[in-house]
């Protein structure tokens, strides 16, 4: 058996063992061992049983697509906006000096704290969640782009200058590829940030979405449903991050693989 398979097997076994113990102490396997109330610790099998009604009611798909839409639209706008401002300020020094305190202050603000002011502006619909998602992603991408421009390898700049390259050549051969590598490297973080923004936004006030359903279940002390939604969120996030990882690996294939694994 190869190392990879043996590792996968051991990992699966560990997860299965954790759930088995959990099931056992919450009254599972017909043994009647119940350590604590189901409102505090729900039984995994009863959580999973919630999936049937959730899916058949059509709510699951509606929530999934709502949260996905919010996160993805926020992500795309955040990347485009952050990269655009980063490039602008990277080249325009006076502008960056002028805006620096504002950007640093806004960035230091916990994103969640902004959610309540977005509601009256943008309503309970997806717009306020897109805005929060955008807000979380924007600064990550902005700072990475800005640093990317500032940390361009001066030797590569010299190479292009000696060859007679002007600003356009410098941008094409050195600055933009260097900046893009910083942006792509932030893709994975951005994806999970976008999802956090969407879910937190739904928590504060919404009419659909996984975060909304989660806050309702939590309010009703429906712990088994809370667990189910957390599990769905986890699978959802892992899938998105995995896709981002693939995209990143593809776009940064010129890099030594060691940095990709890091």
């Amino acid at each position: 058996m190869s190392r990879g398979w043996s590792l996968a097997l051991r990992r699966t076994a560990l997860i299965a063992a954790i759930f088995a113990v959990w099931e056992l102490v919450t009254g599972g396997f017909g043994l009647g061992i119940v350590l604590t109330s189901p409102a505090i610790l729900a039984r995994p099998s009863s959580s999973l049983a919630e999936l049937g009604p959730y899916a058949s009611s059509g709510l699951l798909w509606r929530d999934l697509s709502t949260t996905l839409t919010e996160a993805m639209v926020g992500l795309v706008f955040g990347i485009v906006g952050g990269a655009a401002l980063g490039l602008l300020l990277g080249y325009w020094r006076q502008g960056s000096e002028l805006l620096e305190p504002i950007l640093v202050s806004l960035n230091s603000l916990p994103r969640i704290a902004v959610a309540p002011i977005l509601l009256p502006w943008l309503g309970l619909g997806i717009a306020s969640k897109i805005a929060l998602s955008f807000f979380t992603v924007f600064f990550v991408i902005f700072f990475n782009t800005y640093l990317g421009i500032r940390s361009v390898d001066p030797e590569l700049v010299k190479v292009v200058q000696v060859m007679g390259g002007g600003r356009v050549h410098l941008a094409r051969f050195v600055v933009l590829p260097s900046v893009f590598s910083w942006i792509f490297a932030a893709l994975r973080t951005s994806v999970s940030f976008a999802l956090t923004g969407a879910v937190v936004g739904e928590f504060v006030g919404a009419s659909a979405g996984l975060g909304y359903r989660l806050s309702i279940a939590a309010g009703l002390l429906d712990t088994k449903r809370v667990y189910l939604i957390l599990l769905i969120l986890m699978i959802f996030a892992v899938t998105l991050v995995e896709i981002a990882k693939r995209v990143e690996g593809r776009l940064l294939r010129w890099r030594p693989s060691a940095t990709l694994a890091a």
Partner: protein, 265 residues
Amino acid sequence: MSVSLEHVGIRFRGGVEVLRDASLEIGHGEFVAIVGPSGCGKSTLLNAIADLLDPAECEVTGRIVVDGAEPKRRSRRDVNLGYVFQRDALLPWQTIAQNVEVGLVIRGVADHERGERSRALIEMAGLSGFERYYPHQVSGGMRQRAALVRTLAYDPQTILMDEPFGALDAQNRMVLQSELLRIWQITPRTILFVTHDLAEAIVLAQRVVVLSRRPGEVKAIFDIALPYPRDAFALRGSEEFGRLETTIWQSLRDEFRAPLASGAG
């Protein structure tokens, strides 16, 4: 004259004088090596010739003339200079072939001609088959070869080399020295080669310039009367080579005796 330095002095704005009153005439197609202790301003001098120094950081006095004009007065494209750095400085996001073609793209050379030229150069550098590899996927020696032919691609008349083989192991260094000699003999160009390796300077150059410790001054210039084609390997064992090495080392040695200057060469 291909490169002419008249009383060139370089001083950093902080007050450190790097180079003092350096005068040197380098003819067309001549191969000149510059040796000297660390911090004597060898690299700074090359940067000054290539007009890569930031005027906000250092002040250059005297006159530097490349191909009949001062680099500052003309566009870089007309000066037609090549520069090979110690680190290969290949663009990591471009393949070997793309890297070789960068200078041609900048000069607006048509696609088909670009392809032809880069194919020929890649073959000359022994890199055939690696065209589509990224720099990190090939060895240090191959990267430096690619950097060398990238410079040759747009046919500069003067090539500045700043310890180009310094980062390579001894074997690779000798192989690349041989190749540089071979290329230089096929297509003679003016080469100004900075190195801290005296043997390398003697093996390659027609003249060796010794710079003193900082502030660097031209201390002595030695003619290397060894006939070309030279064999980079065999030459090192020859009597004439030994004699030259001893003579130049005596001049160079004093510059290493003084308290070690800090900073990069």
